[in-house]
């Protein structure tokens, strides 16, 4: 039983989340809200202990981004109650904690705007109204919240334990369809599922969010996986990791995933990917022990020890067959302009940048930090290296170039972090390509020498490892995926393509891209999905982790058919394939 499962709001029902103050109820609630938004399900957030803008910034911290307007609305029952001025917002109706009627009226008015059913109502928390109205709140739970849930909505209501009479809390619990009790034991946060419409009673530990990107706790190098990777690497096997679909993916899909995630958090998401790609490469020494002895020997004797020297770096780049083999680009070391501790590498047909000519920014996210990591790993002395793109297809250059130097680069941050406008432009361009492909059958992307496919390894890097970097990045990919799915559908509809046709075209596109082997029946099934394969092969994550795929399918189904999808099986959770039910 994973935490993720109880943080998915059920379709309908009233869940009461109780626990002492500080047990993590609000954090839990925020996550449920984000999951709902990511699934394109509208949310009404009733806040009684913080103002709506405060909640919005907390949700942003955790990856809210810019959800579709109208998807999340607030009943601010805090500001007026305590007399705090808050700017008027179109998504917020004020109410007063003292008067339960004002809360029910505000909620009803929002419900009228959003539609009668399928809403998640998050109520954080009942404690304040209880302090004003006492037992009347139990009546409110029964006659308003429970009724709201019975109309086909989901309600998550929080209540502090120990702030009121036992019998009142008991009365509230008796009407709830589910009860979750949170507690702290020896510094650990625990959720006890006392009663739940979907989950049998259990006890789940809540992990604390990592403060920064930590590679080691979750990344794992399974020796057999590594051997498979090496088999591909050394022998060029085409289907070492995916027996059915093969190990190559159309570069369009990982790039769409990458820029959809970026759309959500163009600054921190970009820094995260840079950091991860660099750290991953810097782990080379660690990883090398999984390689066969011949390879280890080769590295030991023939690889340069001083990446700072021009001739050594030239060797590294020229021997680095990986880029060519994984089709991420054709590398060329620029000996003429490089000097000690300052290397210039040119790459032709970079998979990160292809199709995004002249977009007005540098784009490469994989190879530059990767080479910085390689330099860090190879060097005898412990030195940090960084790489910055100086020329890029995205800037209108015919190829990309980057500079690799030890230590910090002042402009690096500005270069890696993207402006929202740039990301929107890139996303727009990708959607244009995709619409052209889906509607008019125009080719997606095709590089003259390297073709359209890249190895899974490149796809993994382009998509990043959001699950390693905490909830925020999972949200980024889910929400970005949802946006892409929705936008594509909108365009298909505008082009006059009918519902079922639109969906089958998109499924066909996913198969064309070799995302996995996608079949649509009562459910959607993807065998060998590249996204969950990434988690399965390289991490210790053992829970559903098709963040982008789920978001994308959800956006598609909600825009085309007003339906939602929910991942019920996932390769990363140990299932033989990934599967989504359509609800």
């Amino acid at each position: 039983m994973s935490l993720a499962k109880i943080q998915e709001p059920p379709e309908r029902g009233l869940i009461l989340l109780v626990g002492p103050p500080g047990a993590g109820k609000s954090t839990f609630c925020h996550q449920v809200v984000l999951n709902s938004i990511a699934a394109d399900r509208p949310v009404i957030f009733v806040t009684t202990e913080q103002s709506a803008p405060d909640i919005i910034s907390l949700l942003r911290e955790r990856g809210l981004g810019e959800p579709t307007p109208g998807l999340v609305s607030f009943v601010d029952a805090f500001s007026e109650t305590v007399g705090v001025e808050t700017p008027e917002r179109p998504d917020t109706i004020c109410a007063n904690c003292v008067d339960l009627n004002s809360i029910s009226i505000a909620t009803t008015r929002l419900q009228e705007k959003m539609g009668p059913k399928g809403i998640l109502l998050a109520f954080d928390s009942l404690t304040s109204p209880y302090l004003f109205s006492g037992a009347e709140v139990t009546k409110f739970v029964r006659l308003f919240l429970s009724k709201f849930a019975a109309e086909g909505n989901s309600v998550l209501a929080l209540m502090d334990e120990g702030c009121g009479k036992e019998e009142d809390l008991g009365a509230m619990m008796s009407v709830a369809d589910g009860i979750l009790r949170m507690e702290i034991q020896e510094g650990l946060r625990i959720v006890n599922v006392v009663k739940h419409p979907k989950v049998s009673p259990t006890r789940v530990e809540v992990p604390t969010e990592p403060e920064r990107v930590e590679l080691k706790p979750t990344i794992s190098f399974d020796p057999s996986v590594m051997r498979q990777m090496v088999r591909w690497f050394l022998q060029g096997s085409e289907a070492a990791l995916r027996g059915e679909v093969g190990d190559f993916v159309n570069l369009f899909w990982p790039n769409l995933a990458h820029w959809s995630g970026m759309l959500w958090d163009p600054k921190r998401f970009a820094t995260m990917i840079y950091g991860l790609n660099k750290e991953d490469a810097a782990e080379l020494r660690e990883q090398i022990r999984y390689f066969p002895w011949q390879f280890r020997l080769m590295v030991k004797f023939f690889w340069p020890k001083n990446p700072n020297k021009v001739k050594d770096m030239k060797k590294v780049v020229s021997r680095w067959k990986g880029a060519l083999r994984e089709r991420s680009g054709i590398l060329e070391y620029l000996e003429d302009i490089s000097k000690s501790d300052e290397h210039y590498i040119r790459v032709h047909e970079s998979s990160d940048c292809w199709g995004l000519e002249n977009i007005g920014a540098t784009i490469a996210s994989h190879l530059p930090p990767f080479f910085a990591g390689i330099c860090k790993a190879l060097g005898k002395e412990e030195r940090d290296w960084n790489a910055i793109e100086t020329k890029c297809i995205g800037l209108g250059d015919p190829y990309c170039e980057w500079k690799v130097v030890p230590g910090e680069i002042d402009e690096l941050r500005d270069c890696v972090e993207k402006d929202r406008a740039v990301v929107e432009r890139i996303h727009e361009r990708l959607l244009e390509h995709l619409t052209g492909f889906l509607v008019e059958g125009r080719p997606l992307v095709e590089r003259p020498r390297l073709g359209s496919d890249v190895h899974l390894h490149v796809a993994f890097h382009a998509m990043g490892f959001p699950h390693l970097a905490g909830e925020r990045y999972r949200m980024a990919q889910r929400m970005g995926g949802a946006k892409s799915g929705r936008e594509v559908s909108k365009r298909l509809m505008e082009a006059g393509i009918k519902e079922d046709d639109a969906i089958s075209r998109v499924i066909e596109f996913m198969n064309y891209c070799k995302v996995g082997k996608v079949t649509l029946g009562e459910t959607i099934r993807i065998k060998e999905n590249c996204e969950s394969l990434r988690s399965k092969l390289f991490t210790t994550i053992r829970e559903p982790s098709c963040y982008f795929t789920t978001g994308f399918l959800n956006g598609l189904f909600s825009a085309v058919k007003n339906q939602h999808v929910r991942e019920i099986r996932c390769m990363a959770a140990g299932d033989p394939y990934c599967e989504w039910e359509i609800i």
């Binding site: 009803t108 009546k139 006659l143």
Partner: protein
Amino acid sequence: MVDYVPTGIPGVDKILGGQGFPRGHSILICGGPGSGKTTFAIQFLFNGATEFGESGLYITLDEDPEDVKKNMSKFGWDLDKLEEKKKLAFINVSPVRVTPTEKAGLVQLGMKEFKLIKLLEAIRTGIGEIQAKRIVIDPITIFTLQYPDEVERIYAMRDLIADFRKTGCTNLLISELRGTGLEREHQFEEYLAQGVILLRTVMKEDKLSRMFQVEKMRGLEVDNQPRPYSITNSGIEVYPTLTVFK
């Protein structure tokens, strides 16, 4: 066959059995100060004129019609325009606030002459002018005060209602609510009118909470439960599915 007059006020028709007021009935709207009685009445006339093709007559016994119009402009209702198009007429029969230079209505009456017959005359003239189907008298309290004797008062009120019946117009009689609490004595108008709507306000801590209740509506299956309502920037809105919490 009974014909119904929809109010068009959000939530209200649903409470009135999904229909509206029975045509030709006199409905008493009782509410405390600031409860939105006038807003309710104007909204009834405005919706009648704009949505249901029924002209309306607003007879004020207390306030200057210009003040009423000014107050109502915040809801975005262009009453002047409706008046121009003869969809709406305001008649000032205020017994105390008549100034000689004012030309506020069709008929002006002085304090002493203000009796039932004059009021009826004013109403008939108004109906004739614009073919009114909906009438509001705001507030009826002033009219009843003209009759210090209780028996006379009841007769006058009964005659007024009987006369309204003859005109075929649906009318709202606005009255101050005596006693805002949940326990209160019934006012005699309530017995005479065919329908009674209560707009009540309850103070809790320093927060006002409003409830709408159809106390009586002859000839109609209605929801008699108190329901919360609010005065939004587009007028009165009643929430027929919500329960009132104390």
